[in-house]
Amino acid sequence: MDFDDTPEEAIFRREVRAFLNTHASPKSPSSRGLRRRFIRDAADLAAAKAWQGKKAAAGFAAITWPKDLGGRGGTAIEQVIYNQEEADFDVQRGAFEIGLGMCVPTLMKYGKPQQLKRYVAPALRGEEIWCQLFSEPSAGSDLAGLRTRAVRDGDDWVINGQKIWTSGAHFCDFGIIVTRTDPNAQKHAGLTFFFLDMKSKGVEVRPIKQISGAANFNEVFFADVRIPDEQRLGAVGDGWKVSLTTLMNERLAVGDNTGPAVEDLVDLARGLDLDDAPALRNGAVREKLADWFVQSQGVKLTKFRTMTALSRGQTPGPEASITKLVSAKQGQDIAAFAVDLLGMAGAVTDTELSPMHAWFQQAVLQAPGLRIAGGSDEILRNIIAERVLGLPADVRVDKDVPFNALPTGAR
């Protein structure tokens, strides 16, 4: 057992470091609160695109992808090494995770060679951004309950309906979409998968204001939008299978703790006075810190185990769900605990006045999203129980019933 880089990995890490040192500035304790994880405005978007362009030019944009598609042809471990190193730098994120982590990999599995040639490289360079049009008002956890219709018309499909919670749709160029093509079939059987140009006629994107006040996700309406059959991914009726490819990648792509971490709380507690002593000396604070440290260390080390499995040629299974299940809740809990420690001042979100640029306060309103997006806590527990432990599936009332005969609620 060791955590050491192989000689090749060590060389790669040095290359990555050299690249980052030249093109980005390291995170400092004072910049810690200002993690640039979300795209708030045009300036953020421009910064994210510029950074992506530099990564692509240096060959770090997609380390495991094949060279002929613009990737590096490297190993999963190298990708992890890159991520580890980049995490120490203050770079703008929040624009490409979904596209490069989920959408383009799905395209790569089901697209035609000329489509890959056309779309993959610009996505890698950050010139074109992709979004995931899966969820609908009546289909979230139960994705296969979606209603957006696609009807064949000559060489095209005509799309009508609505998607919701589409992160980044307001700045995206392309999207992947699951639609219902056969409402008479059982619900998982009547789906078909496409990609489309977000500038297509009939697509309307309306940002949704989130609890934080920002608008990172959207409603997307489709009125007689035409998608060429060329842009179908997978067979007609195989949309569910194709979606699973996306969702498998989602589990690998999301899951890192984007909320405040144990180290942030240590920093806060060190500088904070509680009952006339540093909060770090307080027994209740120490207890919490230890719990969260053990948990986050457990998650980090579990990922190392997954990486080891990868490097030994095994495929990581649904065990990877642990990461998001634990980290999302922990981020939320740390934020709440930190705000509580601040007493009345915990309510103050002024970035000049509040410790660490009100990072914890912001997190109170960001963290809940991570417990919902990409498989809610409850869904992840179901997955672990059924696919890892082999417990029986829920009793279902929606099996063996045509989609259009299923009961629906008022919401």
């Binding site: 057992m1 060791d2 955590f3 050491d4 880089d5 990995e9 304790p29 471990i77 992890v80 144990v262 180290e263 240590v266 920093d267 060190r270 770090l280 120490r286 207890e287 810190l289 230890a290 719990d291 440290f293 053990v294 948990q295 260390q297 457990g298 998650v299 980090k300 080390l301 579990t302 190392f304 185990r305 990486m307 080891t308 499995a309 490097s311 030994r312 065990e319 642990i322 299940l325 634990v326 409850e378 992840l380 527990r381 179901n382 672990i384 129980a385 059924e386 890892v388 432990l389 082999g390 417990l391 029986p392 599936a393 829920d394 009793v395």
Partner: protein, 371 residues
């Protein structure tokens, strides 16, 4: 990055698991639980023959010299089987103390006997309630003679000698090797929550004691010694936690209520998913400990404390919730759930409780993140 056991180690684990499933079934554990015998002697002898009692002992002294990873793996399987043997006391506490701090004569005198199962030893730290601390140690050594009382001491009656923590004449706590068959030693059995692992009160009245010389002197070095054992104990706890998860999962698939397996109810599923998550986090932290132990890494204190807290939390949750999953059956003497509730409880308290280890975690973090 190579953060998993090697194929050889995994093979050892498979062998150990198969062997213990057969040789340390709950029927055998219950012989000790019910007071029919003081520990599973036949199992202990077989473990000696397999080379397990000297798994990390140099071959010069008859050991198998397979290293700490192998020791951790065996501890995990002993924990899974809830075995009634003095594995912690004798193998990863007393034997380790000798390997680390014994003089060549002490090693020659005892290690071959410990490895072959001819001798058993234990570790005497606690003096009543509370976490280990220098101030708590009232046992004293003067002119090579040790006096005081230790309780509870696991396996105190079957052990030939004990490694005892006592204050030396210069006021620093040290480890002493004490022959328990010497006159002046009284061993009184204690009733405990886990009769399958007998505990005793040991009284020393001016008993000959030889000092073991750890690398340095004083309490910090004793804590360093305890840290190493805590990592191995985390594996023992992890094995137990996994056994609880396996038994709860199996029961949830078989037991029907309201016309369906109880494992199809989300309240049960989510509980078992949480158990799985807790065990996996504990496993990862334990592996970190095994790595630190093998490499004698600078992070050993933090890794040991993390392994220990994580394992204690996982085992505690798994033992309780496995019983809960079994419903009324879980409350019966006949069902095995209580064996694990008992074992998880006594292991949490051995070698410092969670509060002790949590404090050490934060102390490490304070130093690590110091501005």
């Amino acid at each position: 990055m190579n953060f998993d056991f090697s194929d050889d180690m995994k093979l050892l684990r498979e062998e150990a698991r198969r062997f213990l499933a057969e040789r340390s079934s709950s029927k055998q554990v219950r012989l000790v639980l019910d007071g029919k015998t003081d520990f599973d002697r036949a199992l202990w002898q077989s473990m000696a023959e397999l080379g397990w009692l000297g798994i990390a002992v140099p071959t010069d002294f008859g050991g198998s010299d397979l290293g700490y990873e192998a020791l951790c793996i065996l501890a995990e399987e002993v924990g899974r089987a809830c075995a009634s043997v003095p594995f912690s006391s004798s193998v990863y506490l007393a034997t380790e103390a000798l390997v680390l701090a014994g003089t060549p004569e002490q090693k020659r005198a005892w290690l071959p006997k410990l490895v072959s199962g001819k001798a058993i030893a234990t570790f005497a730290l606690a003096e009543g309630a509370g976490n280990p601390s220098a101030r708590k140690i009232k046992c004293v050594e003067r002119d090579g003679r040790l006096s005081g009382t230790k309780w509870p001491v696991a396996d105190g009656a079957m052990a030939d000698f004990a490694v005892v923590v006592a204050q030396s004449a210069d006021g620093t706590p040290s480890l002493y090797l004490v022959d328990l068959t010497a006159s002046g030693v009284t061993r009184a059995p204690l009733q405990t929550l886990d009769p399958a692992r007998p505990h005793f009160k040991l009284t020393f009245d001016s008993v000959p004691a030889e000092r073991l010389s750890l690398d340095g002197r004083g309490w910090d070095n004793i804590v360093k010694f305890i840290e190493r054992a805590a990592i191995v104990m985390a594996f023992e706890q992890l094995g137990g936690a996994d056994a609880c998860l396996a038994s709860a999962t199996a029961y949830a698939k078989e037991r029907y209520a309201f016309g369906r397996p109880i494992g199809s109810f989300q309240a049960i599923k989510h509980k078992l998913a949480d158990m799985y998550v807790g065990n996996e986090l504990a496993r990862s932290n334990a592996y970190w400990g095994a790595w630190a132990l093998t490499k004698n890494a600078a992070e050993l204190p933090l890794a040991a404390a993390s392994a220990r807290v994580s394992a204690t939390q996982a085992y505690d949750f798994a033992a309780k919730e496995s019983l809960q999953t079994h419903g009324g059956m879980g409350m019966t003497w006949e069902t095995d759930c209580h064996l694990f509730v008992r074992r998880s409880t006594i292991l949490s308290g051995a070698l410092g409780t969670t509060s002790f280890w949590k404090d050490r975690i934060v102390t490490s973090l304070e130093m690590r993140n110091a501005p």
